[in-house]
């Protein structure tokens, strides 16, 4: 039996609203004991001791939105490199988007991802499967068989299903299997002519705009469909105040609806595109400062359930292009924690509420037992210094891709150790 005792920690557990000094004992990959006064009097016998030196010890982060390049674009990211990147970012589990080549729309591919990830990735990888075959938005994927193979949710990732009829049928069928659907909200026709948020800034730059309404229109439609079908619906990324208001109303009406925001949309706004910086070209687009503030308030109020990295590795050949031609997407696994912590340092959101949206809430959505500092739960943990200052340098990233819009930015929060099932998978030197 392997035993590791984490002593002198600042325990943060959103599930029990615990934020206090204490200790935690890991036995055979599971949390064997945890508590504010644990190890106060005596160090445990027969255990390796890790002195946390007052740093925060929390459940490992659970990221609901990560793209990898495996299979099909391994030069951008493999399951192994995504695992390294996640571990360095304090992320112990992530849900993988099915946008690969081939698309994960077949039970055999779910099995492939699970096996490859188990063999090569340092963290837990939960494959999401396509909601429609080939992500084409016309014929639903084999949700039942995919779920049996281990797909945790169904999503066309960065695509909105244009046909209301197909979306309705997908939601009805998903409800049949009590499956979670992760939607993207961007009216395809409105979005087809733009590359960034519509407004004065885009107009001045001469870049086609995507109006905030493109998001609200789809979310409004989808809320009606959720009401009709009873499906579990999660908006993968909310970016506008208008859409968040619609979500809040749907929640108030008791609909089974949740949403997440990406770290990019919490920290950046359209102005961060600056001189056509393609690393800041993401989908949905970075929005106005008012929208960004609404996202921060959504996290504070709990209208937004989860914070995601929306990690999307892109290579120079897809990013070193004129803005309109460049691919969407930004890496984010290694900046997720400091970006989220900026809400604590700059907007006064409590540490525990930020962590709640990075651990417990995503775990609940995926119906996982992780995300808690509870006896018997998997020992997936992150040890970090919430206040440590740093300058973001993508060269240091473990990810194979370096397309970070946070390059050169001063942030606070540094992961010093990441533990998956009791094993340390990352340790800062």
């Amino acid at each position: 039996m392997t035993r590791t005792a984490y002593i002198n920690a600042r325990l943060i557990d959103p599930a029990t609203n615990l934020d206090a000094p204490g200790g935690l004992l890991v036995e055979d990959g599971k949390i064997a004991d945890v508590g504010p006064r644990l190890f106060n009097d005596a160090k445990p016998a027969n255990a390796d001791i890790v002195d946390c030196k007052g740093q925060a010890l929390a459940p490992g982060l659970i990221d609901l939105r990560v793209f990898t390049g495996e299979p099909g674009a391994e030069h951008r990211e493999t399951l192994a490199s995504a695992g390294e990147s996640a571990a360095a970012g304090g992320v112990t589990s992530f849900a993988m988007m099915p946008v690969t080549d081939p698309v994960i729309d077949d039970a055999a591919l779910v099995d492939f991802i699970k096996r490859r990830a188990a063999a090569n990735a340092k963290v837990n990888v939960y494959p999401c499967a396509a909601l429609t075959q080939g992500l084409k938005g016309t014929q639903m994927a084999e949700l039942g068989l995919l779920q049996e193979a281990g797909a945790v949710a169904f999503t066309d990732a960065d695509r909105t299903i244009a046909s209301t009829l197909i979306m309705r049928r997908c939601l009805t069928y998903a409800a049949n299997f009590d499956a979670l659907v992760i939607a993207h909200a961007e009216d395809p026709a409105l979005a087809s002519v733009g590359h960034m948020n519509e407004g004065a800034f885009a107009a001045r730059m001469g870049v086609g705009g995507i109006p905030a309404a493109a998001e609200a229109i789809v979310v409004e439609r989808d809320m009606r469909l959720v009401e009709l079908t009873g499906a579990r619906y999660h908006l993968g990324q909310v970016s506008t105040a208008a859409a968040l208001e619609i979500i809040a109303k749907a929640k108030a009406r008791g609909l089974p609806v949740t949403c997440a925001v990406s770290a990019h949309h919490l920290v950046l706004n359209e102005q961060d595109i600056g001189e056509y910086k393609t690393f800041a070209k993401v989908s949905p687009a970075l929005r106005s400062e008012e929208d960004r503030k609404a996202m921060v308030e959504g996290v504070r109020a709990g209208t937004i359930d989860a914070i995601v990295s929306s990690h999307d590795p892109q290579a120079p050949e897809t990013k070193r292009l004129p803005f309109a031609q460049a691919a969407y997407g930004a890496v984010g696994l290694e900046t997720l924690l400091p970006a989220a912590l900026s809400l604590h340092h700059e907007a006064g959101v409590s540490l525990i509420d930020i962590l709640r949206r990075l651990t417990l809430e995503p775990a609940k959505l995926l119906r996982m037992s992780a995300g808690r500092l509870a006896k018997g739960a998997p020992a997936d943990l992150v040890l970090f210094d919430p206040g440590a200052p740093r300058k973001i340098d993508p060269i240091e990233f473990r990810s194979r891709s370096k397309n970070s819009p946070f390059k050169g930015r001063l942030m606070q929060g540094r992961v010093s150790r990441t533990i998956v099932a009791g094993t340390t998978v990352f340790s800062a030197v």
Binding site: M140, A141, G144, L145, R169, Y173
Partner: protein, 316 residues
């Protein structure tokens, strides 16, 4: 025959009383015996003209009605849509009026649109039998199913019947729910949510979206044909997924009552809604018996309707 069924048309099961249904089943049972004799011919409908007007392709229903008419001594004529003048632009009602002018006594009609048979029945002076209209009703199928169950198990009252599959597009399911509930059976409807009609919970049947749950303890498992030809838009991901969750195989059938019987209105999609091992199992499958009962049930219906025709000669 008690003569309880006294209508000009048979358009649906919904308006019928339990007594009307039982009188038709009693008459049907007599014809089953007749059909098993060497001489199957009666002259009940001698001199009468029966037209089978099929706007939708059909093998078993059309031949079943044709045989029923012939065994009762009627002159029968089959008309299917690809030979009809509808192709030349004639309206549906004009076609019916034209046929009506030829003075048939009974027209058997199948049409792809719900309500189309009733529309035609309104316009003609002869008797009309609905041989299936859209996703509305298929009354003679429900009668033959009931006849099959009654002969096999001796009763319908108190039985648990699970009707499984593509309920949304199924007129067979609708007619059977009406008939079986009127006769005191406990009816369950089992379908994935995309193939379960909105409001089915108000039909008097119990609703299940999981086949294993839905057939648990059932006396009769009635499988429906997956109507691929009626599906526009994405109702299901694939046939293999459908078979995995909603196809009847030995493993799932084991959850029903021991010895539970399996029915299917045909034509079957083997390996989609039903495994061949079940379909061909003579101890469990009533599928061929259903076809046999079909002729008898239709003879009963034609006989009963003929008794209401003007100038009917009452038989002793």
């Amino acid at each position: 025959m008690t003569g309880l069924f006294a209508r000009q048309h048979l358009l649906a099961i919904a308006p019928l009383t339990r007594q009307e249904i039982e009188s038709l089943l009693d008459l049907g049972a007599e014809y089953v015996d007749l059909n098993r004799q060497i001489s199957k011919k009666r002259d009940t409908l001698r001199g009468r003209t029966l037209i089978n007007l099929f706007f939708e392709p059909s093998t078993r229903t059309q031949s079943s009605f044709e045989l029923a008419g012939k065994r009762l001594g009627a002159d029968t004529m089959n008309m299917s849509v690809n030979q009809s003048s509808l192709k030349k632009g004639e309206t549906l009602i004009d076609t019916a009026m034209t046929l009506n002018a030829m003075r048939p006594d009974i027209i058997v009609i199948r049409h792809q649109d719900s309500g189309a048979v009733a529309l035609l029945a309104d316009k003609v002076s002869c008797s009309v039998v609905n041989a299936g209209d859209g996703a509305h009703e298929h009354p003679t199928q429900a009668l033959l199913d009931a006849l099959t169950i009654r002969r096999r198990l001796g009763r319908i009252e108190g039985l648990t019947v699970a009707i499984c599959g593509d309920v949304l597009h199924s007129r067979v399911a609708r007619s059977n729910v009406h008939l079986l509930t009127k006769l005191g059976a406990r009816v369950r409807l089992v379908a994935p949510r995309t193939l379960m009609p909105a409001g089915a919970a108000t039909w008097g049947a119990e609703i299940f979206t999981d086949l294993r749950e839905g057939i648990k303890g059932a006396d009769i498992v009635m499988m429906l044909r997956l109507q691929m030809e009626r599906m526009t838009g994405s109702f299901l991901p694939s046939q293999r997924e459908y078979f995995h969750f909603y196809g009847l195989d030995r493993e799932k059938l084991a959850l029903a009552k021991p010895g539970a019987l399996v029915m299917h209105p045909g034509p079957m999609n083997r390996g989609v809604e039903i495994d061949s091992a079940i379909a061909d199992d003579i101890d469990r499958s009533l599928i061929h018996e259903q076809v046999e009962m079909g002729v008898a049930a239709r003879m009963a219906v034609l006989d009963a309707l003929a008794r209401q025709l003007p100038n009917a000669e009452r038989k002793v």
